[in-house]
Symmetry: C2
Subunit: 264 residues, 2 copies
DNA sequence: TGCTGTGAAACAGTTCACAGCG
DNA sequence: CGCTGTGAACTGTTTCACAGCA
C-alpha cells in the first residue's frame, strides 16, 4: 500500500467514498484497454474481472457516479471512460514537477503512465548542480534554485518528491509555499504539511515489510501443520520463523503480559 | 494507497488486523530513529506524532501485539523495536529478486531501505541479453533464463516485478512456479495468481490520479467560494490548473494504457 | 430474461472515553 | 498523577440479495 493523506475531515463534497475513488483509476485502465479493442459495452461481471474486484463492489462504486449502465446490457465503454475521466479530473491538464532526479526520479520521468493520463511533467528538479542541464527523459534537469519560479510559471499544483529522506520535508515546504497543494511522496519520511494539502506516500520498504509479515504467517502455518505431531519447537525450514511463542498471545487482556520472548 | 493484495479469504489464523499490519512498518521506522538517538522510552502521544497517526489508534494497534507498555511511563523503545520486528518477520533474512532492471528496477536495487531491514537482494534479473552481466548497484544483472535456478538456489519467496506491463503476468507465473509466494508488483497490470500467493501493487499513475481527484475537488470548492462574492474568473493564485480542451469527450485513442517503466 | 442499481445486513477500522495500573 | 489498554460507540466499506428496468 502506499497510502496516506492528510485529510480535511468533513469535506464530503459530492460524497464519493475514498475507497471508491481509489478504485476508479483501476476501472479506467481496464476500460481503456477495452476501448482500444473497440469493445462497445461491458457487463459489471466482465469489467470487475478485468479490474480485479468483485462485481457487486464495482456496481456500487459506479452507483456513486450516477446511473451509467443499461439493465440487461451493461455499460457503454466509451461513455464510462469519459465519465470516470471527468470525475477524476483527467479531462484537464495537470502539470507536475518531479523533485529529486536519481534513479527513481528518472524512472518516474520516463514513466509513460504519467503523460498518458492528463499529467504533464512540467519540470525535473534536482539540488545537485552537476545534474543541471542534463537531459533526462528528453528534458533538461533544472536546479532547485528555480523551484519556486517553475511552479509559479507553470501553475503547478502537484509535486512529486523523489529525494532522499533528509531533504523531503524541506522540499515539501518549498513546494507548498510556492503553491503546490498535492504531493506524492516517495521519500521514506512522514511529511508534515498544513491543512488543505494532500499527501500520498509510496513507500517501497513498507510494502515489502507487509509482504514479509504475510510470508512469515504462511511459514508459521506450514510449520504448525507439520508440527502437528511433534510438540517440540524445533528450528523450522526457511529462515526458522519463530513459530510457537507468538501464537498464544492471541486474546490479550485477561491474562498477564508475559511476552513470549525478551529482547536482547 | 497503492495497495491491494490478492487475499486468501479464510486465512484468519490470528487476528491482527490488516490495517494495523500496514502501520507497523511506520511505527518501526519512527522507533528506529528514536533508538538511534538513544531515547529510552516514548509515550503513545510522541510516537504517534512521529509516525503521523493519532495516539488512540497507535495504542489500539499495539494492544493487538500484546501489552508492551508501562502505564504512566510509555513504551520501551528497544523492546518495541524488537517486538515489531519479530511480528513483521524482520528478524529473519528475506532474499528477494528484482525482475526488470530499467530505471525503476535500478532504483529499487539501489534503495537502501531494502537491505536495512532484513531484505537482501539475491539477484537482479532482466530479459534483455544486453543487460546480462552489467553491474547495477554493485551486482551483475542476470538473464531471465536463470530465473528458476536463482529462485530455487536462494530459497527466494518474495519477488519484485518492475517490468513493462506486458511482461508482468508471465513473469509472475514463472516466479510462482519456481516457488515465490509473495509479489510486489510495480507494473500497471492486474496480476492473476493462485490462492496462497500474496500480491501487493504499487502503481504510480493511480496515486497521481487520486491526487488529481482531490485537487479538482479543491479547485471546485475554491471557485464556488470565490463566485459567492466576486465573479471574476481570473488566473487565481495557487495552482490555477488550466481547463484544457474540456471537450475531449471520448478521450482515448492511442495512448496505450500500460506504459512501461522500462526495459524490455 | 439478464443485468443494473440499491437497500439492508455484515464486517472492518477508527475514535471516544475512562478504568486501572505503575 | 500520567499514561496505557480496552470496551463501546461510531463511521466507513464490503457483501448480499433482490426489485425493477431495458
Amino acid at each position: 500500500m502506499a497510502t496516506g493523506r492528510t485529510h480535511r475531515p468533513a469535506t464530503r463534497s459530492r460524497g464519493i467514498p475514498e475507497a471508491t475513488v481509489a478504485r476508479l483509476p483501476l476501472y479506467l485502465r481496464a476500460l481503456t484497454a477495452l476501448s482500444e479493442r473497440s469493445v462497445p459495452t461491458v457487463s459489471s461481471e466482465e469489467l470487475a474481472a478485468a479490474a480485479g474486484v468483485n462485481s457487486a463492489k464495482l456496481r456500487k462504486d459506479f452507483s456513486y457516479l450516477g446511473s451509467y449502465g443499461t439493465r440487461g446490457v451493461g455499460y457503454d465503454v466509451e461513455y464510462l471512460v469519459y465519465q470516470i475521466s471527468r470525475e477524476l479530473g483527467l479531462t484537464q491538464d495537470w502539470p507536475v514537477v518531479i523533485v529529486g532526479i536519481g534513479n527513481l526520479g528518472a524512472a518516474l520521468a520516463n514513466y509513460g503512465g504519467f503523460a498518458s493520463r492528463g499529467f504533464r511533467v512540467a519540470a525535473l528538479i534536482d539540488a545537485d548542480p552537476a545534474m543541471a542541464g542534463k537531459p533526462v527523459a528528453g528534458m533538461p534537469v533544472q536546479h532547485a534554485d528555480q523551484l519556486e519560479k517553475i511552479i509559479e510559471d507553470n501553475g503547478v499544483s502537484i509535486g512529486v518528491i523523489a529525494t532522499p529522506a533528509g531533504a523531503a520535508q524541506q522540499v515539501s515546504e518549498r513546494l507548498i509555499a510556492a503553491g503546490v497543494t498535492s504531493i506524492l511522496n516517495f521519500a521514506p519520511t512522514v511529511l508534515s504539511v498544513p491543512d488543505g494539502v494532500d499527501v500520498r506516500k509510496v513507500d517501497l520498504s513498507i510494502e515489502l515489510q507487509i509482504l514479509a509479515f504475510h510470508e512469515q504467517r504462511k511459514a508459521g502455518e506450514e510449520a504448525a501443520a507439520e508440527a502437528a505431531s511433534s510438540p517440540s519447537p524445533t528450528a523450522s525450514g526457511v529462515g526458522g520463523a519463530p513459530v510457537g511463542g507468538a501464537e498464544d498471545a492471541g486474546r490479550k487482556g485477561p491474562d498477564g503480559d508475559v511476552p513470549a520472548v525478551m529482547p536482547a
